[in-house]
Symmetry: C2
Subunit: 253 residues, 2 copies
DNA sequence: ACAAAAGTGTTGCGGCTACACCCATGA
DNA sequence: TCATGGGTGTAGCCGCAACACTTTTGT
């Protein structure tokens, strides 16, 4: 039997093989250059009750069925990587990505990290305010916000991805105004300090912190409003400023 | 005609199609989940004659045949991403990756960035000392060290990747001992200062620089030797120290 | 009145810039 | 001995940690 074959219109050669059984004849096409499935995974962080939480989903299918994992999924055809991450964020939380922060974290492609075959995942780091609405329903068996120090034992290499995401988040609070991504549109200096204290797992002097963030150029802007939260003097409300880098930075103690 | 088909043993579904002509009958198999070819590209930097240079290769084949591009290539089957980058580095320069520095930069996968089809590239940033030997021959039509400010007009999206690599390198000199990756095993404080001045495109006070780098814990260690380079008092030789982070950092002016 | 949280003023320390100054060598 | 680059000392500035103190609310 002779078979002429042609691979797609793109000229990219795949490496896995396709087996076809036609009228009892088995045809195996084996190819040479490697391809991989591309997924995006999300390290999606928020702060609830002064504790840093990560969104986990409970896998409904194999592999790792029943185990907890970071939310993620396959990149669609003709879809940009960042767009895939933004889509996942919308699907999993319902928030518009522009309300929080979304950035590429790193890419993981160790052979064997997915038992189904070669899967390269581009991980993204996202921070969102504490969402009043519950997590939007997804095709997973379940989803929940988990405190990051109770998130060990994830599927795939997601423990590693989560650790990398946490370290990135901690480092970026120092020299970028990223902390505001955890806050609602209007927030107090105490809210912002709670973000830093929670992510860094330290305590900060409220007086010096206040001075630093209000004097850092373009970090936060007063809205003119104020609120009284519990007891005590009402606090001014701020919104995020236009700065993209912090001058001077807030260094970890 | 009926055809039962089965995709590989891995369970990963590809998205492109395979057309087979068997005894005059055309069979098109179209699949749903996207796959991509995975490449690694290298932003390989060095310093020659006090100018920052990047290694470029002249493409021998289409697409972008004849144009200059970053060195790179396909990730092999069962090869880790970092291992593929290290292999490219060895192939292009002959240096052992441990002699310099190699780290993941970012991943680029915009549809259409490669006219052959969906190609996702994981870019790596590498720094090596000025190599006495010329660049090892490769399968490309040519290779050369190009000053970074004369490197515009590269193939694919490599202008963007190079810009991202340069910004990463500049930022990392501040708070890591990365600058030593540009230096030979033994170097003087003036050599190290030249690295900073070249990458940052500034001038630094030699006296204050000397004090800072010799007092930064674990940054550089004296070897006991010294050299006289041109005129003037002989300079002590140093090797890189064990530090992985700089305390305190050297901030850009 | 008192507790509690917001916000300001002040002091002292440590790192940094700027620059004077000394050291060791080649020509 | 002079030019040149290597290396040290020091004064002043600036940012920051520490903390006393004032302001504004709820109870």
């Amino acid at each position: 039997m002779q078979a002429a074959f042609h691979v797609g219109h793109r000229g990219v050669l795949p490496s896995f093989f396709v087996t076809m059984t036609i009228k009892g004849v088995v045809i195996i096409v084996n190819m040479t250059i490697n391809v991989a499935a591309i997924t995006v995974d999300l390290v999606l962080l928020t702060i609830r009750q002064s504790a840093l939480h990560v969104l986990l989903i409970r896998r409904g299918i194999e592999p790792f069925g029943g185990q907890w994992a970071l939310p993620g999924g396959f990149v669609h055809d003709d879809e940009d990587l960042g767009a895939a991450a933004a889509r996942e964020l919308r699907e999993e939380t319902g928030v518009d990505p522009s309300a929080g922060h979304l950035e590429q974290l790193a890419t993981y492609g160790t052979p064997g990290r997915d038992p189904r075959g070669r899967v390269v995942t581009v991980a993204y780091l996202a921070m969102v305010p504490d969402l009043p609405s519950p997590v939007a329903g997804s095709d997973a068996a379940g989803a929940e916000w988990r405190p990051v120090d109770r998130a060990a034992g994830l599927a795939f290499d997601h423990d590693r991805i989560l650790a990398d995401g946490l370290e990135r988040a901690r480092a970026k609070l120092e020299y970028t105004p990223l902390a505001t991504a955890f806050c609602p549109p209007e927030f107090t200096v105490a809210d912002l300090r709670d973000v830093y204290e929670t992510v860094w797992r330290t305590t900060l002097d409220p007086r010096n912190f206040h001075r630093k963030v209000t004097s850092a150029d373009g970090f936060i802007e007063p809205t003119g409003h104020s609120v009284t939260r519990d007891r005590g003097r009402p606090a001014q409300l701020f919104r995020r400023g236009p700065a993209t880098l912090l001058h001077p930075p807030l260094l970890r103690p």
